[in-house]
């Protein structure tokens, strides 16, 4: 067999495909690092900022890997395509041990990096920020949310939080499994009947209006099970709490 000239041509193809891969990867990375952060959703807590960063970083890592496969496939399909049923076989090429070990090693190392990154994120999310957190009891039932502020004896259908103060949600359900999700804070925990479970402590970092949505299919009106979230200043929060306490006392009296 004429292996030598064949491998010579192969080197030339190999160089082409690697150049394509590098060029496209660089262009894609630049494009992603510019456009990616703009595509990310609003982040109103440090956990959400970390989650957005994670998405941008993981994607940036995945781009050259995906392009490696795509560029090799596209190059092969364009350059090695035959127009009709081939009458002879291609070269008897099989992978060398080195190629296989390199492939397994690189993909394995990338995956381990993702795991370590994730463990770091979990650790960071579980370390409590300084200061006593505001406790909010979250009760889900088909198909509404109730938020109770035990420190003030207030209960409400909207979630109002002071900006910059750590908050811990204690989540439970009265009937079936619901999913408590404040997307902008990157807080998500199932509301389980018969158990009260605390979320990680998060700190809202931005004033504004967001929403709590149910993200576990909970029956007929699952799609309608949401509640407004307002992140307000400390003074506004204190005022709201006062009004709400009077309102609920007055409501109870009436």
């Amino acid at each position: 067999m004429t292996q030598r000239p064949g491998s010579g041509r192969s080197d030339h193809h190999l160089r082409n495909v690697l150049v394509w891969w590098v060029v496209l990867s660089v262009l894609a990375e630049i494009g992603w690092l510019v456009a990616g952060p703009l595509l990310m959703p609003a982040a109103a807590s440090s956990d959400a900022v970390f989650a957005n960063t994670t998405i941008v970083v993981f994607t940036a890592l995945a781009i050259p890997v995906a392009l490696f496969v795509w560029v090799f496939m596209a190059y092969s399909l364009i350059r090695f395509r035959v127009k009709s049923r081939p009458s002879e076989a291609g070269p008897h090429l099989v992978a060398s041990n080195g190629q296989q070990i390199a492939w397994l090693g690189i993909t394995g190392a990338l995956c381990l990096f993702l795991v370590i990154w994730g463990l770091f994120g979990m650790y960071q999310a579980s370390t409590d920020p300084p200061g006593r957190p505001l406790i909010v009891d979250v009760t889900a039932q088909q198909w509404t949310w109730t938020f109770r502020y035990p420190s003030a004896g207030v209960s409400s259908n909207q979630l109002v939080l002071p900006v910059g103060r750590p908050v811990e949600f204690e989540v439970t359900s009265l009937d079936v499994v619901h999913g408590f999700d404040v997307h902008a804070f990157s807080v998500r925990l199932d509301a389980n009947p018969g158990s009260v479970i605390a979320t990680n402590i998060v700190t809202p970092t931005r004033l504004g209006s967001f929403s709590v949505r149910c993200v576990e299919l909970c029956g007929l009106y699952h799609a309608y099970m949401w509640a407004p979230v307002k992140v307000v200043s400390d003074q506004d929060f204190a005022a709201w709490l006062r009004d709400a306490a009077q309102g609920s006392r007055g409501g109870a009296g009436a």
Partner: protein
């Protein structure tokens, strides 16, 4: 044997055609179901009465359907000590001389069962696709515009469970049955009657499942989470009973396929010469056999809760929703690898044949698939990161979930290595195989975020997850199934599918698929939850785009359907070795005769030995088989 006895035999078998058959099965099954429901309704009372009546009806239907279809005929004969069936009786049971009617009977020929599975899978895809069309219709506009929420929830669940069931069996059923025995050089499966039983169990499950529409549907989605499942309408019983029937069907089929591959390989068919496709099917059904019983068990417990008033999942009485979630996902995640393995294996098989090159790293890709099957058993708890159930699991399961991309990644090394410098013949099946690899990368990469706890807290239960698993299951796996259809259709039906229509099918489906699911990634990233009968206006744009592109999917599938029907009726006659493959299924004529091989083949080389020095002869001709006739037998 004289000609007189043959005529008498034929006349007798003609008389017995209607009984047993699917007609007598349906008649007896409906009668038995109604009778059982009526009998139980005399005693049932209280708020569980309807569930008790419904489940009794299903049990009666199932038992009597199998009596009617003739499934118990031979086992009962055997149990009563009657004579063992003769070879002629076995051939009759395998459908000999019954024409097209054999497809409507308890026929044991693996090729008949393969085609029964194929038609059933296509019908299931059609029903599931109609449900998908309703979902896209509803989500095209904000507000509950087209369907009331109860109907919408049922439609979502029906779409999910039908598509999951169809994708689990879409390759192992049709091609695992039709192709695997031929590809290993066997005359049939190891247990032909069990093979027929596994198909008819699937068949019996379909009316049970569709009866959910008459019983108020179910509002749990395909995951069927308890305790919501405990309080759902009686349509939930249909879901749970279907899973039990389907689970038994899958287990029987798995035992049969594994036994067949282990025991019935032709002389010389060493494990190292086994086609990658056969490896993929075998590992897939093995994984299914490990995973599926826990789902079946969970549904039996749901039925107990609903019918008998037990409290497996009622926390007020000591039950736990997490028990359901663990049991469900112990099936739910291995199941995606049950779907993925055959499809990836088909793609590897096609890439080698259409590049005319050996599989780049045969042992490594087989090892990779074994690795997927092993690690696939220990990733399920990533579905419970945010359930509140088991924080200590989070770290280890993040590790296993990310690491399963390593054995999966081997498939890509093998694909690009096999393509490299090949004689690439870009046929329609090859096009779908390439498409599967391209799409599956996106499905895999988007899975990385979901495997990691910090980002899973953003995405869990949202549209991003839905778009992700559609990219793996449809973009990766269903494309592999389409490829398999185009690849083996000539062998199964003896005719060619139209190539131009095949290319139309590919491009319409590929573009439509990206148009539907890329916008949904974006909506999910910005917080759209799954399962919404009511789309908040914030996500209306993305959903409208997705719904419009769904039209291309409908067009693509219509072209596929038209291609199948018209080619089956009047397509050009296919050659025995349509693509120039070297595996054994290409050495038998099309259509394949009843017992596949006149003399069992002796395998002397790997089917992928293109351009190899040891196997000069078979690469010089266009289709040199790697077999030689056996000297005896």
């Amino acid at each position: 044997m004289t000609s007189g006895t043959i005529t008498a035999d034929t006349a007798r078998s003609r008389r017995s055609l209607l009984f047993p058959s699917v007609v007598s099965g349906l008649v007896l099954g409906v009668a038995g179901g109604l009778l059982a429901a009526f009998a139980v309704s005399r005693f049932a009372s209280g708020d569980r009465a309807l569930d008790q009546v419904v489940v009794a009806g299903y049990a009666g239907w199932t038992l009597c359907f199998f009596i009617g279809v003739g499934a118990f005929h031979h086992p009962v004969r055997w149990g009563f000590g009657r004579a063992e069936p003769t070879h002629r009786e076995e051939r009759e049971l395998a459908g000999e001389g019954q024409g097209a009617w054999r497809y409507f009977r308890f026929t044991t020929d693996h090729k008949v069962i393969g085609i029964q599975y194929l038609i059933t899978v296509l019908v299931l895809f059609l029903v599931g696709g109609l449900a998908a069309a309703l979902i896209r219709l509803e989500q095209s506009q904000p507000g509950a515009r087209f369907l009331p929420p109860s109907t919408y929830n049922t439609v979502v669940g029906v779409h999910g469970i039908i598509m999951i069931a169809a994708t689990i069996i879409m390759i192992s059923g049709p091609f695992g049955n039709f192709i695997v025995p031929i590809a290993i050089g066997a005359r049939d499966m190891a247990f032909p009657r069990l093979n027929a039983l596994s198909y008819w169990l699937l068949f019996a499950a379909i009316p049970v499942f569709l009866s959910t529409f008459a019983l108020g549907g179910f509002d749990t989605g395909w995951t069927g989470y308890a305790p919501l499942a405990d309080q759902a309408p009686a349509g939930m019983d249909a879901y749970a009973f279907t899973i039990v029937l389907f689970g038994i069907s899958v287990a029987i089929a798995a035992v049969n396929i594994i036994t067949t591959v282990v025991t019935l390989r032709a002389p010389g068919m060493r494990w190292s010469r086994l086609p990658v496709f056969v490896w993929g099917i075998m590992l897939s059904v093995l994984l299914g056999m490990i995973a599926f019983p826990s789902f079946m068990l969970a549904e039996v417990m749901v039925l107990c809760d609903r019918v008998a008033g037990t409290s497996f999942f009622v926390s007020a009485f000591g039950g736990s929703q997490w028990l359901y979630e663990q049991l469900f996902w112990f099936m739910g995640h291995p199941e995606v690898y049950v779907i993925a393995l055959p499809s990836l294996a088909v793609v590897v098989e096609m890439v080698s044949v259409f590049s005319r090159k050996p599989v780049f790293a045969y042992r490594t890709v087989v090892g990779g698939m074994i690795g997927i099957a092993l690690v696939g058993c220990i990733v399920w708890a990533h579905h419970l990161y945010t359930s509140g159930a088991n924080t200590p699991f989070d770290g280890p399961f993040m590790l296993t979930t990310e690491l399963i991309s390593v054995p999966t990644g081997v498939v890509f090394l093998v694909a690009i290595g096999t393509l490299w410098r090949g004689k690439i013949w870009l046929t329609v099946p090859m096009l779908f195989g390439i498409g599967a690899l391209v799409n599956f990368i996106i499905g895999g990469v988007t899975g990385l975020y979901l495997a990691d706890v910090p980002t899973d807290e953003v995405f869990h239960g949202g549209m991003f997850v839905a778009a992700h698993f559609h990219f793996t299951l449809v973009g990766g796996m269903v494309f592999g199934f389409f490829g398999a259809c185009y690849y083996w259709f000539p062998k199964m039906f003896g005719r060619r599918l139209n190539e131009t229509l095949g290319r139309w099918h590919f491009w319409l489906f590929e573009i439509g698929f990206y148009g539907v699911f890329l916008p949904l990634f974006y909506a999910g990233l910005h917080g759209e939850p799954r399962w919404l009968a009511y789309i908040p206006p914030k996500f209306a744009g993305a959903n409208l785009i997705a719904s419009m592109f769904f039209g291309l999917l409908i067009a693509g599938v219509s072209v596929f359907g038209y291609n199948i029907v018209s080619s089956w009726r009047s397509g050009p006659v296919a050659a025995a070795n349509e693509w120039g493959g070297n595996s054994l299924e290409w050495t038998v004529p099309s259509p394949v005769p009843l017992e596949n091989f006149e003399t069992l083949p002796v395998v002397t080389a790997s089917p992928y030995d293109y351009g190899g020095e040891a196997s000069g002869p078979e690469v010089t001709g266009p289709s040199g088989p790697v077999t030689a006739p056996a000297t005896e037998a």
